[in-house]
């Protein structure tokens, strides 16, 4: 099986980061290399210097310790030489030793032995109770050395009580001839060497100590460690001394020191005694300059890193900023923002790139703009075409399905098109035939007003061309010669820089006929109306004369009857009683009653005729229209009705009433009649309430009079405006003409009165008055 490793797609990393890292890496490499080399060479130099210094210090330390020992030997030798120890008395020997002991505190005990190893004199800083560690072995060694005329120094041993390191030092005692006479030996307390060793300067914090051949610490600043009898064979430098490692010049050893810290260490054997001085210098101090350089280098590197990071970011940003701008610009351009510009004014390759890029974008923008414009134009054109097509279809449909004849014509060339309605109207076979007709051919020679069609047509067309359109009536003639009335709408239009007139011809022959008929009816109606009015006037006027006669003759008859009545008995004296009675009854009762009836009927008839006459006059009276404040009229009317209002305890509410245009007398009559009726027909069972309101709009002004009176039965409402009509309970006087008058007068104001009512609830009269009453009536 093949194993395919799917490569992980590399994650995006900003160029700024990459450049910063690269810059950092490069700078670090340079910094670390430079610092590393500096540290290396510094270290090598310092190593050499330290090695030389260590050897000098070691030598000096060794000399110091040797001097300490040598001083003791010198004292002993001087005592031997000057004290003439072999030739003086024991007391004098004792005194000499006491003096010697007093000279140097390091001497604990001093013993003078003769050649036979017998104690000649002894002096001790301690009590005599304290032993002197002079073993046989030591004694033999001393005598062996002394015999060879050599100085002797024993191995280090510790005091049992104090734990302090001690040695026995011995010198041979000779007489003036140089013969061996004995030995002068001293027990020396090495603790007096501690201060000497402690004062050896090894740098600032370095130290020195002395060890014996067994690696035992015998002198050190830290007394406690000497007293502990520490063995330092574990330390490399000590071990080197024990095994006799040869000394190498300029060799430097870094190892754990006596204080268990890393030190630069060296040792120098003293020879005699068989000890060595070890010196230690803390590594930190020995390589202080290197460490300082290391520290400075660390700071330099740290600051270098910091500065590198800052500089890296700055430079990478400086480098990448224009590139980022370029990138962002390309992104924007890719989204179509071709007006994007890169603001990079660097005088380098990036600047050039930006400039080239801007140029490229500009070119691209131009190309794209052209392309876009083209595309837009095409789209718009398509859209226009579609719209045009749609429009054409729409207009074609309208054009073709129009009932009106639509045609295009130019004054010069005549018709250029005609719709099916035109073809049909002018009774042509097809459009071609229609187009072939000249405009003159579709009109009779003269128009009804007697003008020549050709002249008048020219006038009409000129007017249409001048005013844009012109509507007029025209008498046309079809191809077949049939004439008909039409309205012609001429519209001026321009197509392809050519002026046309579009004519819409509508056959109004039927309409004309209807119009003529209506005119005729109206004339007849007016005449009939006039006749009715005349008749009414005549009737009412002429009827009054017979009525006057009837009334006059009836009065005459009454007078005659009175005369007859006064002479009745004489007239009837010869008649029997029954006849007498009947005639008497006829003269005294029936005839007067009949006369009364004739009289009252005639009076009533006179009333009717007067009313009719009045109504007739109203219909004919000339109106004097003027602006009127209806409030004044209402108030005056109400004053006249004050007594009745009080009787009915009626409450009157007069709202804001607008000004009306009308004939003052007529308006007074209208308001007076309706208000008077409202008061008259209030229901006595409840408190009367009458409300008068009004409103005005552009066309008309409305006054509403609402009451809570008896109301009118539904079936009677339609007849309330008829003359001599009264409804409901007839407990008031009246002729039933008030509303008829009001209605007539309202009509004379190009208005109307409407009535709404509910029995036992109340009635509302709405007086509608035109704001332009002169236009009607």
């Amino acid at each position: 099986m093949w194993n395919y490793k799917v490569k992980k797609p590399k994650s995006y990393r900003s160029l700024s980061v990459t450049l910063s890292i690269a810059f950092l890496a490069l700078s670090l490499t340079v910094l670390l290399t430079a610092s590393g080399l500096e540290i290396y060479f510094n270290f090598q130099n310092q190593k050499k210097v330290v090695a030389e210094q260590q050897q000098l210090i070691a030598q000096k330390a060794a000399d110091t310790v040797k001097n300490f020992i040598q001083e003791k030997f010198s004292l002993l030798e001087t005592a031997v030489r000057l004290g003439n120890l072999t030739n003086i008395r024991p007391e004098e020997q004792q005194t000499t030793l006491e003096k010697l002991l007093g000279i140097n505190p390091a001497f604990r005990q001093i013993i003078l032995l003769n050649a036979q190893k017998q104690e000649s004199a002894k002096i001790s800083r301690l009590s005599t109770l304290m032993p002197f560690r002079l073993t046989k072995e030591v004694e033999n060694a001393i005598f062996s050395k002394a015999g060879q005329e050599k100085k002797y120094i024993s191995r280090v041993y510790l005091d049992e009580i104090t734990g302090e390191p001690l040695v026995i030092m011995a010198v041979p005692v000779k007489n003036v001839l140089g013969d061996f006479k004995g030995i002068l030996m001293a027990e020396v307390n090495l603790k007096f060497m501690w201060d000497v060793v402690n004062e050896i300067k090894v740098g600032t914090k370095g130290l020195a100590y002395v060890i014996d051949k067994q690696g035992r610490l015998i002198a050190f600043g830290n007394v406690s460690r000497v007293l502990k009898e520490e063995n330092l064979t574990g330390l490399k430098e000590v071990n080197d001394f024990i095994i006799g490692e040869p000394l190498t010049e300029n060799k430097i050893e870094i190892a754990k020191g006596i204080n268990n810290t890393y030190v630069v260490t060296d040792h120098l054997p003293l020879g005699t005694p068989d000890w060595a001085v070890v010196i230690e210098l803390p590594v930190r101090e020995a390589y202080a300059s290197v460490i300082r350089v290391l520290g400075i280098s660390a700071w330099v590197i740290f600051l270098g890193i910091a500065l590198t990071v800052v500089a890296g970011i700055y430079l990478s940003r400086k480098i990448t900023k224009p590139i980022i701008k370029l990138r962002d610009a390309t992104r924007k351009i890719s989204t179509g923002e071709l007006d994007t510009k890169i603001n990079v004014k660097l005088k380098n390759e990036i600047g050039e790139l930006a400039a080239s890029f801007n140029q490229m974008v500009e070119n691209l923008s131009k190309t794209t703009v052209s392309r876009d414009h083209l595309a837009q134009e095409v789209t718009e054109r398509k859209r226009t075409e579609e719209a045009l097509k749609e429009s054409e279809t729409r207009y074609k449909t309208i054009y073709e399905s129009s009932a009106d004849a639509i045609m295009l014509a130019s004054p010069e060339k005549g018709f250029s098109s005609g719709n099916p309605a035109a073809i049909k109207l002018f009774e042509c076979r097809d459009e071609k035939e229609f187009i072939s007709l000249s405009p003159a051919a579709v009109s009779p020679e003269y128009q009804p007003d007697g003008q020549l069609s050709s002249v008048k047509a020219q006038e009409m067309m000129t007017k249409a061309v001048k005013e844009g359109s012109h509507l007029f009536e025209w008498t046309h003639r079809t191809k077949k010669g049939r004439e008909f009335f039409a309205t012609v709408l001429l519209n001026r239009m321009e197509l392809q820089n050519k002026k046309f007139l579009q004519a819409t011809v509508r056959d109004i022959t039927e309409h004309k006929r209807e119009e003529e008929r209506l005119k005729r009816y109206a004339t007849e109606l007016a005449r009939a109306n006039e006749e009715v009015k005349e008749f009414a006037y005549i009737v009412s006027h002429d009827l009054r004369a017979p009525l006057v006669n009837i009334k006059g003759f009836a009065a005459e008859l009454r007078s005659v009857l009175k005369t007859i009545d006064s002479n009745l008995n004489e007239i009837l004296f010869n008649l029997d009683q029954e006849k007498k009675q009947k005639i008497t009854t006829a003269f005294q009762q029936d005839i007067p009653e009949a006369l009364d009836f004739i009289d009252s009927s005639a009076t009533s008839m006179d009333g009717f005729i007067n009313s009719l006459l009045k109504l007739s006059r109203m219909g004919r009276r000339e109106m004097n229209f003027e602006p009127i404040n209806p409030v004044e009229i209402v108030e005056t009317t109400l004053k006249g009705l004050a007594h009745q209002l009080e009787q009915h305890r009626a409450k009157i509410t007069v709202g804001q009433l607008p000004e009306v245009i009308g004939d003052r007398t007529a308006i007074e009559q209208i308001i007076g009649n309706i208000l008077s009726n409202a008061v008259k027909y209030l229901d006595p069972v409840r408190t009367g309430e009458i409300e008068i309101t009004g409103e005005r709009n552009e066309e008309e002004t409305t006054l509403v009079i609402r009451d809570n009176g008896r109301g009118i039965a539904k079936e009677d409402i339609a007849r309330v405006f008829m003359p001599f009509r009264r409804f409901g309970k007839q407990d008031t006087q009246g002729e039933g003409m008030g509303l008829a008058f009001a209605h007539t007068l309202a009509h004379r104001h190009n208005g109307d009165i409407r009535c709404e009512s509910e029995l036992d609830a109340g009635t509302t009269f709405t007086i509608i008055l035109s704001n332009h009453p002169e236009q009607g009536g």
């Binding site: 002991l101 007093g102 000279i103 009590s127 005599t128 009580i161 104090t162 800052v310 603001n343």
Partner: protein, 346 residues
């Protein structure tokens, strides 16, 4: 027409690198690192209780303080001393030490032997280290050994045995006729038994009789000396001062000196002061030296070494000869003795 866009300025405005802030941050980090590296720890302040058992030893504390100062312990700055000077009263010594322990001091420096022994007892069960000076270590269980004192104690030993015996030898050397040497001592003092253990065989070897008056306090001490003075004959040829408080207190030594002067009896001294006051010599380690040695030990303890593991150090004894007194008594100091003397008072 859309407006032109300045790419790279408006888009990156929010991510613009703020150099001032970056530099301030860098500076703060640098200073922070520098300070953290170089910041010095607040020095610890050590509290040390010093108890001096009697007047003649007081200047041991001077040596201690001087050396401590040299080692970097500056009084009032990083070390505070609570110094109590006692007059040998054991109960008061114990009381002071108990207070030291209650105060949880960092170290107790006690001298001479009696306060040292009491300090060891008082600090038992605590971790307060004890450094002693001028204290005998023989026969009193003060330390396990010189090399390894054990417990939480170390110090500067008083070489009681060898120095007392050496005093005896010096006395005998100056007063060769002396056959009866008078000793009056505090029988309960820690050094006494050891000193007697060295003196008695030495006296026997030399054929000298030790006339002993063991006492327990100053009053008895005075009574004993007074009784000795009243004896007839006095029966002593010389007086040897013993290494205890009573012999070395001005009151105790004064009593002896008065008695000795009255009867022209030579005194072999003890503390350095006795040679000044009328003894023929003194042979004792120097107080200042002891204080300094003790300071070195305290320094080791403060640096972390357990006290019990620090070997006890032995100071050098110094011989001071009062040549005037010797001559006044009609005695002779040999040339050798004069040569051995560290100081001759003339």
């Amino acid at each position: 027409m859309s407006t032109k866009t300045e790419v790279g300025i408006t888009l990156n405005k929010h991510t613009e690198f703020n150099w001032q802030i970056a530099l301030v941050i860098l500076l703060v980090i640098t200073i922070g690192v520098f300070l953290s590296i170089h910041a010095k720890k607040r020095p610890r302040v050590y509290r040390v209780g010093i108890i001096s058992g009697a007047e003649p030893f007081v200047n041991i504390a001077d040596g201690f303080k001087t050396k401590m100062t040299g080692l970097g312990y500056l009084e009032g700055k990083n070390i505070i001393y609570d110094f109590k000077k006692m007059d040998g009263n054991p109960a008061e010594i114990e009381q002071v030490l108990n207070k030291f322990v209650a105060d949880k001091l960092d170290l107790i420096f006690a001298f001479p032997s009696e306060p040292a022994v009491a300090a060891k007892a008082a600090t038992r069960g605590t971790n307060i280290p004890v450094v002693f000076a001028m204290a005998g270590i023989d026969g009193n269980n003060l330390v396990e050994s010189v090399r390894h004192p054990g417990g939480n104690i170390t110090g500067v030993r008083f070489p009681g045995l060898e120095s007392t015996v050496k005093r005896f030898e010096f006395l005998v050397e100056i007063v060769p006729r002396a056959k009866r040497i008078y000793l009056v001592y505090d029988k309960n003092y820690p050094n006494t038994a050891t000193a007697l253990a060295g003196l008695r065989p030495m006296a026997k070897t030399k054929g000298i009789t030790l006339v002993e008056d063991p006492v327990t306090n100053l009053e008895e001490f005075r009574t004993a000396v007074r009784k000795r003075a009243e004896a007839n004959p006095i029966g002593i040829d010389a007086i040897l001062l013993m290494p205890d408080i009573l012999n070395n207190l001005p009151e105790g030594f004064g009593t002896i000196l008065e008695f000795a002067n009255k009867h022209k009896i030579p005194i072999g001294g003890g503390m350095g002061l006795t040679a000044d006051m009328g003894a023929m010599f003194s042979f004792v380690p120097d107080n200042i030296d002891q204080g300094m040695l003790a300071a070195s030990l305290a320094d080791k303890i403060f640096k972390g070494t357990p006290a019990g593991s620090i070997p006890v150090v032995t100071p050098e004894s110094h011989l001071r000869l009062n040549y005037k007194v010797i001559q006044k008594l009609g005695l002779t100091a040999t040339e050798g003795l004069l040569g051995m003397a560290d100081e001759i008072i003339r």
